[in-house]
Subunit: 294 residues, 2 copies
């Protein structure tokens, strides 16, 4: 990092996740609390049209649009708004994978799941975010291309995920938590820039292994809800034969896996469309090497 | 009531309030649990197009469209979908105010506010719902015309309101509560029909007196959130000089009223559009006369 380093902080990549939207709007009015001596911070709104309508997205999910396919596409008539937007964001804060790209990008999200505060990182190889003092989960499936807005910067740093909060609502308690974590992460970069040595350490983190779909009727409608014993139990162990669903008629459906997993994004509103009830996580211990500025 | 009495139960008047939607869909597949010996029950989906899109409404709020103005309007090109729908629902379950109208209609709603389970009734003069063993609040402002879907039936009976639940999400615990209350209300009508005498009693209930708007910047954007000390405190006393808002810069805003009120719908997602932070309620004791079938 140098004093020309640039950090971007994005709210409203999903236009109905209000903590990041109201934080980014606040920082655009009054950027003072983002200032640090060793780098510049730029707040911005990810998806202005979706924010205006208070929906997740207008044409397609912006946070799945930062792939080579979309970023290298040429303009065509009637393409989704988010494809145009992704190319624009890539020009401003990237281009992805280039030397001109912003150094870091934080992206602020909410979930309706009871997940508390987590930093979503692609993999344990992203050394710098692994050192930030915040619970971590690793979200990239093996072989998957990066697709999220923060992949435009040199170090994605991560999505910050906070819940439970309903879509279209801002809760003051979660707003303060999100503000505190961003302050902490910016302080961390400041310390790093000023030469602080961060020693090697071991960390427990959750790593995605797959997704669990809702059961459905033959016509494709979901036929069951998240079981009351699983609801709000994000990151707690789920053992073989534990109940995971309750059908609308009242029957229990049990977990058929052979090993203990740690579900996350349990009953996330935005995942109903894809019929995903939760994501399956494993808990691992990672040895993270020490970190010091070159 | 006679054995030809008809009761309608509606889910999905707002297309993103999922408890009632999944309950109505379940009853449409399997209506058995709605059956009673002394009357017929018809489940239906209020706003199918909004349910399909998982939004509150498509053109305008269906649950504000059952006024004389809309119901007596003649078809015109490009009118909102919900105006057409309201006339159709009025034909099927009404007409409002006529002898052919359904006897009762329950309408099932969720809120993102921590309101628990409440039956919303127009006023204390609606004798039958006042006898149903469920907490009650009275929602009609003085002089206001009835505008909600259940006003089509002879006795609106009330909206059932359940929360907190995010929009677009179904929680198994709230689903069961809603199912239980409808079962209880149908049992109550059955007992009434069979001649049970319900004695006079006194009841405490909440009555709306007005609405509290969010503070705004000069450009119209909201400038504050519900204060953390007020969040989730629906129906608890709010006293003069208690904090009600926290600005995005961190200042407290206090309640300037002169008397204790009981806020409800605190931080309801759907009310942001109208910039309403909560509704103001007063607590009253009502003397409800006894009830027996003629």
């Amino acid at each position: 990092m140098t004093s020309e380093d640039c950090v971007a902080v994005c709210g409203g990549t999903h236009g109905n996740e209000m903590s990041g939207i109201y934080l980014a709007k606040h920082w655009l009015r009054d950027p003072m609390e983002l200032q640090r001596s060793s780098f510049a911070v730029t707040p911005f709104l990810g998806n202005p049209r979706a924010i205006e309508k208070c929906v997740r997205y207008v044409g397609q999910d912006l946070n799945r649009t930062f792939t080579t396919e979309f970023l290298s596409s040429t303009e065509v008539e009637d393409e989704p708004y988010e494809v145009v937007l992704a190319r624009e964001i890539n020009q401003t804060y990237g281009p992805k994978g280039s030397a001109q790209a912003f150094d870091f990008m934080f992206d602020l999200h909410n979930t309706t799941a009871s997940m508390g505060t987590y930093l979503i990182v692609d993999s344990e190889e992203s050394l710098l975010p692994m050192h930030i003092p915040c619970p971590i989960y690793l979200y990239k499936l093996p072989g998957e291309e990066t697709y999220s807005i923060n992949s435009v910067a040199k170090a994605g740093l991560g999505r910050e995920q906070l819940g439970p909060q309903p879509q279209q609502v801002v809760r003051a308690d979660l707003f303060s938590q999100m503000r505190d974590i961003i302050a902490c992460a910016l302080d961390f970069i400041e310390l790093f820039n000023k030469g602080t040595v961060f020693p090697a350490f071991e960390i427990e983190a959750y790593k995605i292994t797959g997704r669990m779909d809702y059961p459905c009727y033959p016509d494709g409608e979901i036929s069951a809800m998240v079981h009351p014993k699983l609801q709000d139990k994000d990151f707690l162990p789920l053992n073989p034969r534990d109940p995971i669903f309750q059908t609308f008629s009242g029957e229990e459906i049990l977990y058929e896996g052979n090993t203990t997993i740690y579900p996350a994004f349990i009953n996330e509103a935005a995942y109903y469309k894809k019929k995903v009830a939760f994501v399956k996580m494993e808990k691992h211990t990672f040895s993270i090497p020490g970190l010091q500025r070159d």
